[in-house]
Subunit: 439 residues, 2 copies
C-alpha cells in the first residue's frame, strides 16, 4: 500500500462547541436556561450553566499554532482554528490531514458530559443534554454524512432516562456513547453495582459502543506541583489502565457477551504487558479472590480481546507487537485539535509506523475495525476512492485549506516577561486557576 | 545454558522483622523506646512505636500457604513461614528456590522507612532508624556474606542527618538505599526542589543506588470499593509509571550523571511504550515546556536507559522485547514472601521466559546487572558454581528444606461462613481496618 491509498478514521477528536449550538434545538425557557456562551468585558469567553462557569472555550484546542504556543490556553473563540468549532472548516482540516471520518468528543460539558451531572437542576440538565445530543448528531455530524461517527452523552444519574436517551439517539442512527469510566467520582454507584444492569441491557440490545475517554474518572495524577509538566503528559494515556483493569473485571461482560468498550486515547504499546499481568494476577490469585466465578474458563486477556477497542496517536512499539494484541480491535486516533495531535502530518507519521504490516492489517487499523466496532458505514455515502489520503488532500488543495501556523495567544503558563524556565504541573494549575478567576 | 546453571539474584524481597531485632543494637532508654513487638491477649500481634500501632506483622507475607489463603493477612508470627523473619530459614528458602542473593525491603516501617517519618519525636526516630539499619546490614545481611544486598532506609526529613547516615552505612559496605518515590506525600519538598541537592551529591560521591519501591508515594488507586481486587493487583506494578515519569524529568540526572535509580517491583513489559511516549511528549511539547533546558540533546529514553534499573517477576512480553530496553539495566525479582512470588518455582518459570536469549544476556539479567548496579560482588564470597540453581537446590535437599504448603490462617477478607463471592477492594480494606481495630 502507498501512503496516499490509506483510508483513515480517527476515533478520538474534539469539538469546541460553537456559541449558537442550542439555537435550533431549543426554544423559550429551555433555550434561555441552556448553557450560555459569554464574552466578558476583557474579551475572554466562557460557558455558564446553572451557576457554574466553565472558563475554557477550547480546552487545549491549540491546533494550527506555532509549537511554542501549545501550552497556552485559548480564552476566546478567535484564538481557535476555525476547524475546532465550525464543521465546514473542520472538514477542510480533516481533508488536508487525510482523515476520512472522525469520532468527536465535546469540550465544555466534559468528554463524559460531566457538567450536566454536576448541575443542580437535573430536570433542566436532561433537557439540555438531549439538545446537546441533537446538535451533535443532527447538526454537527449530520452536516457531512459519512464523515463523522456520532457519539452521544448520557444522563446516567437517572438510569431510566439513560435507557430512554439510548433508544432516542439510536433511532437517530447514533451508535456510540461516551460515559465516565469511573462513575463513583460522579457520586454514582460503581460499574459493578446492579444500578447499571438496565444500561448494559440497553446498549447490548441497541448494539451501541461505550467510549471511555481518559481523564474523567481516573485522571493521571500530578506527582507534585514542581514536577515538569512533560512527566504528566507522558503518563496521560496510560492512566486509563486503572479503568481498563476495573472494566476488565466487570461481570456484565459475561452476562452480555456483545458489550463493546472503546478505551479512548489510551495508547496500545503497554497493553500486551497489561494483559500478561492480568493473566498472571488471575492465575496466582483466583484461589482466594474467587474471580473464577466471573472469568470461568477465560483468561482476562481473552475477555479483553473480545470486548475492548484500543487506539493510538503514535505508537510504533505497539504496532510492532500487533501479534500480542487483537488486530481486529486496534484503531487510530488523531486527537485534533489537542496538543498531542500530529495534524496536518498524520498520514506521513502513521504510514511510517504501519508499513511493516500487510495491506489487510493496514486497512483494519486505519478504518476497518472502527467501521465494524462503531457500526459506521461511510462507504454507503462515499466510494472508498473518494476517502483516501490522496483524494482528500487533493480536495483540500482545491479548496485552498491553509495550514500555515498562526500565532493566536491566550492564557500563558509563565507571566509576561518572566524568564524562561521548565514549565511545571504547578504552572499549568496556576494558569487555569488564574484564567478561571478572570472569567 | 541449562536451567540449573543459572545464577539468580532477586532485587526485591521482603523481611518481616523479628521481635528482638533491636536488642543487640540499642540499650537503656533507646532500647526501651524502640518499636515494640506486642502480642495481644487474643493472640494477634502488632508493632507499636511512638503511639502508633502497626497491625501487620507480615504485610501479605503469605509464602508457603495453600493458594486459597493468599488473601489472608497474617496476624501472628506463627502464621508466617520462618523464612520471613529468620535469616537461617530464609537462606534455606532461597536455596530451595535457586536464589543466590537477595535485596530485602522491610515491612513494619514501610518499604521507604515511612513509619520513622510519621513518628512525632524525630530525635528518637533517628536513633531507631540507625539501629534498624544496623540490624539490617550487620545482623540480617551480615549473617550470610555474599547472599544479601543490604538496603538502608534514611531520615530524609533531615537532609544533614541523611547525608551522615549515607556515609555511615556506606562505611559498613551498604551500597543501596530505599526512599519514598514521592516525598511530597511525607510532607517533604518534591525531588525537584533544591532541598535534595546534598542527597544527590552524597549518593553520587558514595556510589549508592536509590531504590524506589512501588506503593509508597504514588500507590495504585482502587477504582471503587466494589471493584474486584484482581483489578488493583493487576495495576500495582505499573503504578510506578507516575514516579518513573517524575524522576525521568529530574534535572539532578543531568547534574549528577552517575545517579542510579532502581524501580522496584515495577515490571518491564510496559516500559518500551513508556519510553516512546516520553520521547513523543518531549518532541511535541518541548517548545513551550522548555524541557530542552533539562534534556538538552538527549531524548528522555536516553536518560532512562542510562540511569534506571528495572526488574520483573514474570514478564515474557518484556523479555521478548529486550531490544527495546537497555539489556544492561534489567534484573529479576522474586518478591518473597508476598503473594505475587513464584517461590519455590522461580527457576522453572524464569528459565521459560529467558530461554530465547543468549547465555551472556541471561547472565546479565539473572545476576550480572544487579551485581554491577548495586556494587555487589558475591563471587568474592562464593565461587559461581556454588551459587547456581543446581548447587543451591542440592544444598536445600541436603538440608531438608520442606516446601509443602501449610495452612496457617490469619485475618480473612470474608467473614466466617460467608458465602463465597468475588473479593473486592472494599473487602480488603475492611479486613485490614477490622484487624487494625482488633489490635
Amino acid at each position: 500500500m502507498k501512503m496516499n491509498d490509506m483510508v483513515i478514521i480517527s476515533v478520538d477528536d474534539h469539538i469546541s462547541e460553537p456559541p449558537d449550538m442550542f439555537k435550533k434545538h431549543l426554544s423559550g425557557d429551555d433555550l434561555a436556561s441552556a448553557p450560555q456562551f459569554i464574552v466578558a468585558e476583557n474579551g475572554t469567553s466562557f460557558w455558564e450553566y446553572q451557576g457554574m462557569k466553565m472558563p475554557s472555550v477550547g480546552l487545549n484546542a491549540v491546533v494550527g499554532r506555532p509549537l511554542d504556543e501549545y501550552g497556552m490556553e485559548p480564552t476566546a473563540l478567535e484564538q481557535l482554528r476555525a476547524g475546532c468549532f465550525d464543521v465546514k472548516a473542520r472538514i477542510g482540516d480533516m481533508n488536508v490531514n487525510g482523515i476520512a471520518a472522525s469520532l468527536n468528543f465535546g469540550s465544555f460539558p466534559g468528554f463524559d458530559g460531566g457538567r450536566f451531572h454536576k448541575a443542580p437542576d437535573k430536570a433542566k440538565s436532561l433537557v439540555h443534554l438531549r439538545a446537546y445530543n441533537d446538535w451533535h448528531i443532527d447538526e454537527w455530524c449530520g452536516a457531512y454524512p459519512g464523515r463523522f461517527i456520532p457519539c452521544a452523552i448520557l444522563p446516567t444519574w437517572d438510569i431510566k432516562a439513560t435507557v430512554e436517551e439510548l433508544k432516542r439517539i439510536s433511532a437517530k442512527g447514533c451508535t456510540t456513547v461516551s460515559i465516565n469510566e469511573n462513575p463513583t467520582v460522579q457520586g454514582l454507584p460503581s460499574i459493578h453495582n446492579e444500578y447499571w444492569e438496565p444500561f448494559w441491557k440497553a446498549v447490548t440490545d441497541l448494539d451501541i459502543t461505550i467510549c471511555l475517554h481518559i481523564g474523567a474518572g481516573n485522571p493521571a495524577p500530578h506527582a507534585s506541583m514542581e514536577t515538569p509538566i512533560e512527566a504528566w503528559i507522558t503518563t496521560m494515556p496510560m492512566s486509563i489502565s486503572t479503568g481498563a483493569a476495573d472494566w476488565l473485571n466487570l461481570s456484565a461482560l459475561q452476562r452480555y457477551p456483545k458489550l463493546k468498550i472503546a478505551l479512548s486515547e489510551g495508547g496500545i504499546g503497554w497493553i500486551p504487558y497489561f494483559l500478561e499481568r492480568a493473566d498472571f494476577s488471575h492465575s496466582r490469585h483466583q484461589f482466594w479472590t474467587n474471580s473464577r466465578m466471573n472469568f470461568r474458563e477465560d483468561k482476562p486477556s481473552d475477555v479483553f480481546k473480545r470486548h475492548f477497542m484500543t487506539c493510538f496517536i503514535d505508537d510504533a512499539f505497539g504496532l510492532k507487537n500487533l501479534d500480542s494484541l487483537n488486530e481486529d480491535l486496534v484503531s487510530y486516533e488523531c486527537d485534533y485539535p489537542h496538543s498531542d495531535s500530529l495534524w496536518p502530518e498524520v498520514p506521513e507519521r502513521l504510514f511510517d509506523t504501519l508499513k511493516h504490516l500487510s495491506d489487510a492489517q493496514v486497512d483494519k487499523i486505519t478504518h476497518g475495525n472502527a467501521m465494524r466496532f462503531f457500526r459506521f458505514d461511510m462507504f454507503k455515502h462515499h466510494p472508498r476512492e473518494a476517502l483516501t489520503v490522496g483524494a482528500l488532500r487533493a480536495q483540500a488543495k482545491a479548496d485552498g485549506v491553509d495550514v500555515t501556523p498562526k500565532s493566536s495567544g491566550g492564557a500563558a503558563p509563565l507571566a509576561e516577561g518572566e524568564k524562561p524556565r521548565i514549565i511545571t504541573s504547578g504552572d499549568l494549575m496556576r494558569m487555569f486557576s488564574h484564567h478561571a478567576k478572570a472569567a
